[in-house]
C-alpha cells in the first residue's frame, strides 16, 4: 500500500546555504515528530511540504499525487494542512470566523450563490457554522466562539489555530511547535487532544516539537534533523539513546556514558 | 520612410534624451533615497520638486521687478536660485516627514502611502493658494535670461542652447556631489547603514531619526534643484506640473533599482532617452497614427512592465533586510 505521504531526496538551498540536504521522509498514520536543534531546517521542511517553498531537488507525494509546484491553497485542498510556529490567526476576526475560513477549500458554493443567496446557500452556510462550532467544541473553545481572535489567551489561540486547520478536513496535519509557550499541563492536554483526533478522525499528524517529554510520550515515531540532514529515525526510545542525536543537541564533549569520578 | 530624416534627427533626440534624463535622475534620487531608508514611496516628492521651481520663479521675479536681474552676472543668479530651491525643498521635505510620515512609521505600509498621497494633493493646492493670493496667478513663467537662448551649432543637424548646457552641467555637478556625499563622508555611510539595516545601525550608535530626516533633506534638495532646472528649461510652471514628471521619475528610480542611488541616475538617463526616442520617432514611424502625446503612456507602460517583469530593476534593489 502506498504511503499516505512520501518525500524523498528533498534539497532546499537559499543562496549558498543548504537548508535541507537530501532528506527522505514518509509517514502513513498516527503521530510522528520531527525534532532537532534550532536551525536544523524543520520549519523549512514544513514549508517545502506545504508548497511555500519549492524544493531544489526531490519529490513530494501525497496519496500518490505529486505536491511539488502546487500552491499552498491547492495542497490544502488535497488534504494537507498546517499551523504556524508564530501563531498566524486572523486577528480581527472571531474564533468561529477563523475556523470558517479554514473550511474555505471545502465550500462547494460559487460567486453566483454568494450573490443571490439561494436556499442551497443557506443550507450550506448553516452546515458550515454547525461544523465550525463542532470543531471549536473539539478543541474546547466552544464558549469563546464569538471572541475576537486577538483577545484570546495564548493557549486558546494555539488551539484555535488547530481548529482552523481541521476545518479543511485534512488527512495529514502538520503542526509547527504546537506546545510552544505552554505549561506542561497544557501541553499534556493538547497531546491528549491530538491522540483523540487521530483516533476519531483517522488523521495523520506530523509535529515539529522542542518539548521532549511531549515528543516521547505522544509520538509513534521520531525523526531527528540536524543542519538540514536526517541523522536518526525510529521509535522515541531508540532515538533518545542515539549518540549522534545527543551530540547534535549537546555537543561532542558531553557524549559520555560514565560520569567522571571526582578526584 | 524617410531614412535620412530619421537618422538626421538622431543626435538631437539623443541630446534631448540626455537632458530629460538628467532631470529625471535628479528627481528620482529623492524617491530612491527615501525608499532605501524607509521602504516607503514618498508620493509627495513630486510636489517637493515643483515647490523648488516655485521658489526659484519667485526669486527671479522679485529680482526682475527690483531691476537686479539684468545687472547681476547670470551665473550668480543661477547659483543663487538653485541653492534657494534646494534649501526650500529640502526643508519642506523634512517638515512633511515630521508631520505626516513619522507618526505612521509603525503602521502597515499602505497607511503612510495614503498619507503621502494626501500630502501631495494638499501641497498642490497650498502652492496654488499662496500664489493666488500673492500674485493673483498660479501659472507662472520663468523670466527669460537672454544669455540662455544663445545656441551653439555643433553640427548641421545638432545645436544646443546655453540653457540646455546649464541644465546638464548643473545636474552633473549635483549628481557628483551626491555621489561624494554618500560614498565618501561619514554621513553618507550612516545613510547607507540605515538603508541596509535600521536596527543594526541604531545599535552602532547612529541616530536613525536624524539620519532619516537628513535623507529627506538631501533627497528633497535634489528635487528642488531639479525643479529650478525644470523651470529654467520649460519656463511654464503651475502647481500641478509636478505630478507627471514625478511619476516618471519614480519609474526611473524603479527602472534603475529602487533604493540604489547609481540606479536612480542610470534609470533616469535610460528613461529620458527612451522617452525622447518615443516622442520623436513614434509619430514618424506610425505615419502619424500615434504621436508624441503617447510618450506619457510610454513611460507608464515602462513602469508597469518593469514592476511586473523585473521589479528589482536594472542594477538591483537596495532595501532593508526584513526582520
Amino acid at each position: 500500500m502506498t504511503a499516505l505521504f512520501d518525500a524523498h531526496g528533498i534539497t532546499k538551498r537559499f543562496g549558498g546555504l543548504v537548508a535541507i540536504n537530501r532528506v527522505d521522509y514518509a509517514l502513513d498514520r498516527g503521530i510522528s515528530s520531527i525534532i532537532g536543534p534550532n536551525g536544523a531546517g524543520k520549519t523549512t521542511l514544513f514549508n517545502v511540504f506545504t508548497g511555500l517553498y519549492e524544493p531544489d531537488a526531490g519529490e513530494v507525494t501525497f496519496r500518490g499525487r505529486s505536491l511539488v509546484g502546487l500552491r499552498p491553497d491547492q495542497i490544502t485542498a488535497l488534504g494537507v494542512c498546517r499551523t504556524f510556529q508564530n501563531i498566524r490567526l486572523f486577528a480581527n476576526m472571531t474564533a468561529i470566523e477563523n475556523v470558517l475560513v479554514g473550511m474555505h477549500a471545502r465550500v462547494r458554493l460559487g460567486l453566483w450563490d454568494a450573490l443571490t443567496h439561494p436556499p442551497r446557500f443557506h443550507t450550506v452556510e448553516r452546515g458550515l457554522w454547525q461544523r465550525g462550532s463542532e470543531l471549536l467544541e473539539r478543541v474546547g473553545l466552544r464558549d469563546k466562539a464569538n471572541e475576537v481572535a486577538r483577545n484570546l489567551p495564548y493557549g486558546d489561540q494555539r488551539r484555535l489555530e488547530l481548529a482552523r486547520a481541521l476545518g479543511s478536513e485534512p488527512a495529514l496535519l502538520l503542526l509547527d511547535e504546537p506546545t510552544a509557550g505552554m505549561t506542561q499541563g497544557e501541553a499534556g492536554h493538547l497531546m491528549g487532544l491530538l491522540r483523540r483526533l487521530v483516533a476519531d478522525l483517522g488523521l495523520a499528524i506530523l509535529l515539529i516539537e522542542h518539548n521532549m517529554r511531549v515528543v516521547m510520550e505522544v509520538s509513534d515515531r521520531v525523526t531527528v534533523l540536524d543542519h538540514g540532514e536526517k541523522i536518526a529515525e525510529g521509535l522515541p526510545r531508540e532515538v533518545q539513546g542515539d549518540a549522534r542525536v545527543i551530540e547534535a543537541y549537546l555537543g561532542r564533549r558531553s557524549v559520555s556514558r560514565s560520569p567522571r569520578a571526582a578526584s | 520612410m524617410d531614412y535620412e530624416l530619421l537618422i538626421g534627427i538622431f543626435p538631437q533626440v539623443v541630446l534631448d534624451g540626455i537632458l530629460l534624463g538628467f532631470m529625471y535622475a535628479l528627481i528620482a534620487l529623492g524617491y530612491t533615497m527615501v525608499y532605501g531608508v524607509l521602504e516607503f514611496i514618498n508620493f509627495a516628492h513630486s510636489e517637493i520638486f515643483i515647490f523648488g521651481a516655485f521658489v526659484g520663479v519667485e526669486i527671479l521675479l522679485s529680482l526682475q521687478s527690483a531691476g537686479w536681474l539684468a545687472r547681476l552676472p547670470w551665473v550668480v543668479v543661477l547659483i543663487l536660485v538653485i541653492l534657494a530651491g534646494m534649501l526650500a525643498s529640502g526643508l519642506l521635505a523634512v517638515t512633511v516627514e515630521r508631520v505626516a510620515y513619522r507618526p505612521l512609521r509603525a503602521a502597515p505600509r499602505l497607511i503612510p502611502l495614503i498619507s503621502a498621497i494626501g500630502v501631495s494633493f494638499f501641497l498642490q493646492d497650498i502652492i496654488r493658494l499662496f500664489e493666488s493670493i500673492w500674485r493673483n496667478a498660479f501659472n507662472l513663467v520663468y523670466p527669460t535670461m537672454d544669455v540662455m537662448n544663445i545656441r551653439f551649432e555643433l553640427t548641421s543637424t545638432l545645436d544646443v542652447s546655453v540653457r540646455s548646457l546649464v541644465v546638464i552641467v548643473a545636474a552633473l555637478l549635483m549628481l557628483w556631489s551626491l555621489h561624494v556625499l554618500v560614498n565618501r563622508t561619514k554621513i553618507g555611510t550612516a545613510i547607507r547603514a540605515v538603508a541596509e539595516d535600521q536596527a543594526a545601525a541604531s545599535l552602532m550608535g547612529i541616530n536613525v531619526n536624524r539620519i532619516i530626516s537628513l535623507t529627506f533633506l538631501i533627497g528633497g534638495a535634489m528635487g528642488g534643484a531639479a525643479g529650478v532646472l525644470f523651470g529654467i528649461q520649460y519656463s511654464l510652471i503651475n502647481p500641478y506640473t509636478g505630478f507627471i514628471p514625478g511619476l516618471k521619475a519614480f519609474t526611473a528610480a524603479v527602472l534603475g533599482g529602487i533604493g540604489n542611488i547609481p540606479g536612480a541616475m542610470l534609470g533616469g538617463l535610460v528613461l529620458g532617452l527612451l522617452e525622447a526616442f518615443a516622442a520623436s520617432y513614434m509619430s514618424l514611424l506610425t505615419g502619424g497614427a500615434f504621436g508624441a502625446e503617447y510618450k506619457d503612456i510610454f513611460a507608464f507602460s515602462v513602469l508597469i512592465l518593469i514592476l511586473i517583469f523585473r521589479p528589482k530593476g536594472l542594477l538591483g534593489e537596495v532595501v532593508r533586510g526584513r526582520a
Partner: protein
Amino acid sequence: MIHAMAAVAAVALSVALVDVFPRSILVFLAFQLSLLYVYVARIPPWLRTGLLGVALLVLMPLIGLRNGYYLEVATQVGIFAALALGLNIVVGLAGLLDLGYVAFFAVGAYSWAIVGSPHANLIFGGGFPLAPGWFYVFLFVGLAVAAIMGVLLGLPVLRLRGDYLAIVTLGFGEVIRVLANNLDKPINLTNGPKGITPIGRPPLPFGIPYSEGFYFLVLLIVVVVILVNRRLEDSHIGRAWEAMREDELAAQAMGVPLVRAKLLAFACGASFAGVMGVVFSAKQVFINPESFTFLESIGVLAMVILGGMGSIPGAVVGATVVTVLNLQVLKGFSLWLNELKNAGVTVLGYSLANLPTQLEPAKYERMVFGIILVLMMIFRPQGIFPARRRQRELAHTDKEPTVVVP
C-alpha cells in the same frame, strides 16, 4: 421612545425648514444630518428603514421640486456612493490599494457614450445612435466590460506587493485617461478632448422628468449595490477577502486561492463603477476625459477612507460628506465670498473686494482630499464608521448547541 420621536422630529423639521428656506445650503445640510441621525439613532429597525425610505423616496424629490440643485447633489452623492462601495470591496475588504479606479468608471461611461450618441457613426458608418431603450441593456454591458477590464488589469499585477500595486494601478488609470484623450486617431473612438455628445437618455416610466428619473435610477442602483455588498460580505467569499487582508500567507495556507480571490474583488469593484459610468454618461449627456482623472480616483479613495475601509455605511457616509463638501460647502463658500466682495465688506480694515480674483474656494477640492487623507491616517485610520463584522454569532445553550445564521 424618545429617540424615535427625536428622529421623526428631526427629519420633519429639517424638511419644513428646507421648504421655507430653499436657498439655504445650511438648511439642506441639516436635512442630510437628520438622515444620518436616523441611521445611527437607537430606534427599532422598522422605523429606521421606514424613515429613510420615506425621506429618500418622497421627501427628497419634494425638496428637489423646491430647489432642483439639491436633487442634483443627491444624485451625484448616489453616483459616488456606488463608486465608493465598489472601491470599498477592493481596498476595504480585500486590502488592495487601487489608485486608478476611475478607469473602470470611464470605460462604462464611454461604452454607452459611443453607441448612445451619433459618434459611433464615425466608426461604423451608420445606424447610430441606438434607440434610447438600449440604455438599460448597456447597464449590463458596462458592468461586464468593466469587470473584464478589472480581470485583465488584475492578472498581471495582483502578485505585486501593496505599494507597487498602488503605483501600477495609478499608471493604468493614467493610461486610460491619455487613451481617452488621444484615441481620436487613427480611428476616432473617443473623440479626444472634445468629448462625446449628445448622449442618449433612457426612456422613463410614467413620463417622469429626467432629473427625478435619474435620481430614482441612481437610488435603485445604490440599493442593489449595497445589497450585493452585504451578501458578499456574509459569504465565504467575504470571509476569504477579510482573511486575505489580515494575513495573506495564512489565508493561502488555509485554502484561499489568492489570485482568484483578488481578481474577484477587482472584478466586483470594477463592475459597480462600470454600471455607474453608463448612468453618468446618460445623465450628463456630454462626457470628456476631464471627468476621469486621478483626482476622481483619489476622491473616491478619500470617501472610502473617511467613511471607514470595509464598512458599507462608511462608504455611503464618506461619499455623502465628500460630495457635499465639494459640491455644496466649497461652492457655497465661493458664492458667499463673492457676495461679500460685491458688497464691499471689509475685514480688519482690508476690503474683501481687493481679494485676488484667482482665489476661488470652489477649486480647492485637492486640498480637501489631501487634508482628509492625512488627518484620517494619523488620527482615525479606521474611519468614521469602522467596519464591524455584522453580528453573525454562534448562539448556544449549554445543552444544545444551535447555530443562528441571520
